[in-house]
């Protein structure tokens, strides 16, 4: 965040306390120049604590950073990737879901069709975007533009930051499940390269519906899971308080999922999280996309489709007993 001070999270409180002490001392340093040494010592302590704190984050800490209210959202990335990007609206069937943003983005090296879930910054935005939970119409809008991308041979980049698909009455009546399923189905057959980046929360089927990609990347502090840790805790532990255990057990962090072989790359964030510096986060993400895209654009349409299908065909862990 460039103009606003980052809001500290619960686990960052000790760091915040130290920062406040330093600040208080700095105010007195004009009258008491001997404090200079203490300040230096505290500064050093602060930096050490900062580094150790962020290198030993638990799953729940990552989850909190991923959900940080100041976390850069899809539009923040698009704006930084291409200040002149052109938004395309609507599913052509009666709705334009603000929780799904679609548009034409010029990455410099590549022109891409960009799609992403959007959480909304102000309260009003958040409500309109359903806190980043798309309606079936949002997925159908994305699908329309996937087809558009295929027609004009534009590579696709998707950004994922959603708690999941919206669980509402109208959403069910308009067949949320089908909207997701058809996206999985059609993305599997798309003949242009697709790169997906989990930028914040990757929540279940609602995230995967724009995540069937040749390469899946995750921002360092983002999470990706089959169900929210809260949901998992309340079902398996029968207690909403076991969120920490659920988050740990499900292996939701970028590094863990990389180790499981499900994703391809983890993108570095500024120390403390992407909300400390939008520009750096967006630049890192752009660099990673371009690096991956360079290889993918060399493939033929059929090859790129086969590559994607093979990727998902191989994900899974089971025993095959010999009969």
């Amino acid at each position: 965040m460039t103009d606003k001070k980052p809001i500290p999270l619960e686990f960052e409180k000790p760091l915040e306390l130290l920062a406040q002490q330093i600040e208080a001392l700095e105010k007195q340093v004009i009258d008491h120049p001997e404090l200079e040494n203490d300040i230096d010592r505290l500064q050093e302590q602060y930096e050490n604590l900062r580094r150790s704190l962020y290198s030993n984050l638990s799953a729940i800490d990552h989850l909190h950073i991923a959900r940080h209210p100041q976390r850069p959202y899809t539009r923040d990335y698009f704006d930084r990737w291409d200040p002149n990007w052109v938004e395309l609206h609507g599913d052509r069937k009666g709705m334009d879901d603000p929780a799904m943003v679609t548009g034409l983005v010029d990455l410099g090296d590549f022109k891409v069709l960009a799609v992403g879930t959007q959480k909304g910054r102000s309260l009003r935005d958040k409500q309109q975007c359903n806190f980043g939970m798309p309606q079936p119409e949002g997925y159908r809008k994305a699908l329309r533009l996937f087809k558009h991308a295929e027609k004009f041979a534009l590579p696709v980049v998707t950004l994922i930051d959603t708690p999941g698909a919206y669980p509402g009455m109208a959403a069910e009546e308009h067949n949320q499940a089908e909207a997701i399923a058809v996206n999985l189905f059609e993305l599997a057959g798309l003949k242009v390269p697709v790169i997906a980046i989990v930028t914040g929360e990757g929540g279940s089927g609602g995230a995967l519906a724009v995540g069937v990609a040749n390469r899946i990347l995750m921002m360092e502090h983002s999470v990706y899971s089959v169900i929210s840790p809260e949901g998992c805790a309340s079902i398996l532990w029968r207690s909403a308080e076991k969120v920490q255990d659920a988050a740990r057990a499900m292996k939701i962090t970028a590094r863990e999922i990389l180790a499981l072989g499900v994703i391809d790359e983890v993108i570095c964030e500024p120390l403390g999280g992407a909300h400390h510096d939008y520009d750096v986060a967006a630049a890192n993400a752009k660099k990673a996309v371009i690096k991956q895209m360079e290889k993918l654009v060399l493939m033929s349409g059929d090859a790129v489709r086969a590559d994607r299908q093979k990727k998902f065909r191989e994900i899974g862990a089971f025993h095959e007993a010999t009969a």
């Binding site: 069910e172 399923a181 599997a188 089927g205 899971s225 089959v226 292996k251 939701i252 025993h319 007993a321």
Partner: protein
């Protein structure tokens, strides 16, 4: 024995009989089943003969995968595939109990190794491939094995050029396999994409209950989607929706009939008619397809 003694002995006998009651309840339960919907007491063997459908109110009881196979597939024609696939524990998942223990418990209860049985067989003489889910095994949840078996039967059907029938019954993705479970949605849908591109027909049957990741992948991708009467089908569960929108949902929300009204399924078919209907659909689609191939193409009109 005077009258008083006679009453006393009778009272004792009665008490003794009452003590034995729990045993009798078990036998009684096995013999009789109460309908969940109309509360009618049904003779279990008759219920079985009636395909586990209440003769009074037509409530369709949940049935296991093996029973479903018996009901749909010609006797003796089914051969199971990939029965040797078993779940592993990729995350070393432990909640209040370990995933390994829960798997063993699920298998003990259901008598199955996994929540889906796949294979090939005949329906009224028509060859087809099948995947039948069992809610009785781990809530029919989809983990790596369910995803793999569904993908494999889809590939098998593609290779053999056979129609595919998948009967869904599931609570959704299996949380204990974390991200692997989620990715099975993509794996199964991707396999179905190649299948669909070959011009083959997939019929999806939705049975009580079908939810979450299964609905949001292969269950909703049928060329024809059939629901069993009264089956509850949806993406999000009723309680989750009620908590989100903070209002009561209509009683018939997410039932097969509700879905039919909202254009989400092609038809609702009673269990007794399911087999005939499937055979008809297979023949109908095979017929329209084979005809143009067998008859020479029509000569083009000479002038416009």
């Amino acid at each position: 024995m005077d009258l008083k003694e006679w009453f006393a002995s009778r009272k004792k006998q009665r008490e003794a009989a009452e003590v034995k009651l729990p045993l009798a309840t078990d036998e009684y339960c096995a013999l009789w089943t109460q309908c969940f919907q109309c509360r009618e007491l049904l003779y279990t063997s008759q219920l079985r003969q009636n395909l586990h459908v209440c003769p009074k109110c037509h409530y369709h009881f949940r049935i296991g995968a093996m029973q479903r196979v018996e009901q749909l597939i010609d006797h003796g024609t089914f051969h199971e595939l990939d029965a040797n696939l078993e779940s592993s524990d990729p995350l070393k998942f432990v909640d209040t109990d370990s995933y390994v223990k829960r798997q063993a418990e699920a298998s003990r209860k259901s008598g199955l190794t996994e929540a889906v049985i796949t294979g090939a067989g005949d329906i009224e003489g028509e060859k087809a491939c099948f995947g039948v889910m069992d809610f009785g095994h781990f809530g029919g949840s989809m983990g790596s094995v369910v995803g793999e078996k569904v993908a494999r039967i889809t590939e098998y059907a593609t290779e053999k050029k056979l129609p595919l029938i998948l009967v869904s019954s599931s609570g959704g993705a299996r949380m204990q396999e974390g991200i692997f479970s989620l990715m099975q949605l993509a794996k199964t849908s991707s396999a179905l994409k190649s299948f669909a591109d070959s011009g083959l027909m997939y019929i999806s049957i939705l049975s009580e209950p079908t939810y979450g990741g299964v609905t949001a992948s292969f269950a909703m991708l049928g060329d024809i989607i059939i629901a069993e009467p009264g089956a509850r089908i949806g993406f999000a569960g009723r309680r989750v929706i009620e908590q989100t929108i903070r209002q009561k949902l209509p009683a018939d929300f997410q039932t097969a009939e509700y879905l039919l009204k909202h254009g989400q399924v092609d038809m609702v078919v009673e269990r007794a008619e399911m087999k005939t209907k499937l055979a008809y659909l297979i023949r109908f689609h095979a017929g329209s397809k084979s005809k143009p191939q067998s008859t020479p193409p029509r000569p083009k009109a000479a002038t416009r």
